[in-house]
Symmetry: C3
Subunit: 323 residues, 3 copies
């Protein structure tokens, strides 16, 4: 890829496309801003007028009620106007190209696009095409990146562990197909986590994953020993029918997070999962609902993190205005 | 069923799941509150700020544009933020369980769930699972209950007949499959209607329906004699293809409400229907559009009744706040 | 058709169903009002409170993400509450008639319906059925009309050409199936354009099209000679598979707008297209993205034009109120 289109010349965030290539202070600014929104979301009136009159388009080329909802709620709490577009069902079937769609929505004075797309790189293509002052947030592209998920994970880790600099973190599961894992590895490295482990069967690891600076484990008991944070990944159902895995039962036996396996981690280790969980496949309900699970706080922090990203991006728009 | 989860220890309404088990003063409070909203909905600016910043989720596990729309409009008139989720198409196909979905949405600081589900009891399951301060409204569950429909029917009856205590009310049609009828019978009894009749062929009546305190008629001319209110039920299309009924024509002949049959009722009797109507099946257009029909006022009152339920529930949330 | 139901006795616009039959001052009032909204849409806070508390229903019986979105954005910028209803998927499958659906939504105190329907005349049927004070905007009905598209085209022409009275305008493409073209011809005539040309193969022209007062050309080089404005039409994909056209390539050769063909027009001619474009079928990318294209400004003006129509209609509602 060429020069990072996420930052302008002064280093201000213009788009959030990927964690890769973002400087640590940008990540920290997002986490700090999110902290200020955690309070808002617990108030009786959960709205702030920061993005009043802004038009935010949820452009989902791949269906995802869950992620779309988190962005919709975050935008509404900022008082923005949100328009949900499920593009697969209309314009695209009329043969309109992706960039023509974007040009049209931009001509309607869109301020921000939240984009989910099955093809890696689609949000970059859009961001490069837009004129300054319109922003893109990648809500998941192919197997490439899911930066807001990684950011909410970092928020959650910082919330419970305070500092990144002494942590041992394990990412467990299907790394091969996971855009979440890829974004997590980058975020953990940038924020200074000294030891990042990946735990998976060989068939579910990307080639040369060690190059990312991670330690590879195929045995889960080994991989979880003394870790502070366990980041579980979702096992896509379609993987279980293919040649990569013998069966869900077999997978659970070796890579499902049970209380026994979790006992190898530090006693105060936290367990995270991006959801939706496959209980009994990659995680046991005793762990998912247990005292070390911070899976639901992740969701709560996720709203605040998305509010933070949106408000930082909107604040960087060129016209003078009220910021 | 166990103790009624709809009321807290002080008897305040926490959820609206079913009419059954609610004390008369709670029903009356809802109807009285709705009366105050009927005016709002006729104003030039039809909004009140009562639920500003509240997040209300329309969780429709069964499609229903019509009912979903009434709740969406009611919520918007209260200035709430509404998120529509058609769950069948996304998370559930990813295998996430109902309660995991609810946990996730609760973690996003949902204030209220409007739930429609094909399985009886699903809204109870959800209500029991939630922490205090988050509320559920049942928008129809299986064959069990549809309490807001019954409440808007009661509002309509009270509007036109002033008192419940001297009325003779007939419910006509497919009681066997009707969650509406079940809720109507409970509401009419609780509010003190002395004579409740049900009129239907044997094949469309629940077993031992008399236990509910109703009088059973198989002949419509008999059943409508001298009634003050006729509550028609919708005949589901799928019933007409099954073994329960000979044909739509045959059904109309015996149980369709025509001017002739309506002439047996009191001259000032009102005719109601929950919609959508099958004209020429359970009701003749001459009646549906005739002077005794209050079918469209039902819809109007339905918005006010839903606003009332939402605002009463929101007002009962534990944290101090601005109420 | 009978008397124009679009205007009340004082000649005020009550519904926007068709351009046909509207007096020039009404069109001009819409364009002038739109001009005042163009500024709003470029402000930092793009909202005005003109329609606060009004309930606007997007009733799309035919799917169209694009057009639905423009109306949704326009309504939100006027601070209205918008409810999107995709009717094909729910009530209609339950057998509820069109007018019963409308009666129901009206009973919920709808203020305005935006209607797209596959059958010509459906918006008229709805408008005639409604009580005064509820308004209909036709967002495209069958092959009949698409008046807001024609109005935004007129706005765009006036923006670039200032006056209509000396213009030569060509409409190119599939006029036979185009509701856009029909509305454009009426609008151009009413606003006083002296020379309107249509350019198409014989198979894509309506019978007796000359009766509309247009000049017919089958040769594009001839048809574009010295024109000031080129209005391209979209070629529906389904036409290309039928007997009317040999192939997309062949069509492009004769009727696709290329720089060569455009060179026949006046040097300052502008090129317009209602979108979505079929690049390489009816228009070459070199033209679509070239200096004479005003296709994206059309989209921008389209929001302002829709805001104008909505606010004019809402202002004409009978009850005293705040207008």
């Amino acid at each position: 890829m060429q020069a990072n289109p996420q930052l302008d010349k002064e280093g201000k965030l213009q788009h959030l496309l990927s964690i890769e290539g973002l400087p640590a202070p940008v990540l920290t600014q997002i986490l700090d801003t999110a902290a200020s929104f955690v309070g808002v979301t617990e108030r009786e009136v959960k709205k702030v007028p920061l993005l009043r009159g802004k038009a935010i388009f949820n452009l989902f080329f791949e269906p995802s009620t869950r992620t779309r909802t988190t962005f919709e709620i975050a935008a509404k709490r900022l008082s923005a106007d949100v328009v949900n577009l499920n593009i697969s069902t209309s314009s695209q079937t009329k043969g309109e190209s992706l960039l023509d769609t974007i040009d049209n929505l931009s001509a309607m004075h869109a301020d921000m696009f939240i984009v989910r797309h099955a093809e890696s790189g689609a949000p970059y293509l859009i961001a490069r095409h837009l004129r300054p002052g319109i922003h893109v947030i990648n809500a998941g592209d192919g197997r490439h990146a899911h930066p807001t998920q990684a950011l909410l994970d970092m928020y959650t880790i910082r919330h419970y562990k305070k500092e990144f600099r002494d942590l041992r973190v394990a990412i467990v599961g299907d790394l091969l197909h996971s855009r979440v894992a890829r974004s997590q590895v980058h975020a953990l490295s940038i924020l200074g986590v000294p030891e990042i482990r990946v735990v998976a069967p060989k068939t579910l690891l990307p080639a040369q994953v060690e190059r990312l600076g991670v330690h590879v484990f195929h045995d889960m008991a080994e991989g979880l020993r003394d870790v502070d944070v366990v980041l579980m990944l979702r096992l896509q159902n379609e993987r279980m029918q293919g040649a990569l895995l013998p069966s869900a039962q077999e997978y659970f036996k070796y890579y499902g997070l049970t209380p026994d396996k979790l006992a190898r981690a530090r006693p105060d280790a936290i367990v995270m999962h991006p959801g939706p969980m496959n209980r009994g496949v990659e995680i046991d309900s005793a762990v998912a609902d247990g005292p070390q699970s911070v899976i639901l706080p992740q969701v709560t922090f996720g709203i605040a993190v998305r509010m933070a990203v949106m408000s930082i991006l909107a604040g960087s728009s060129p016209p003078a205005a009220n910021d």
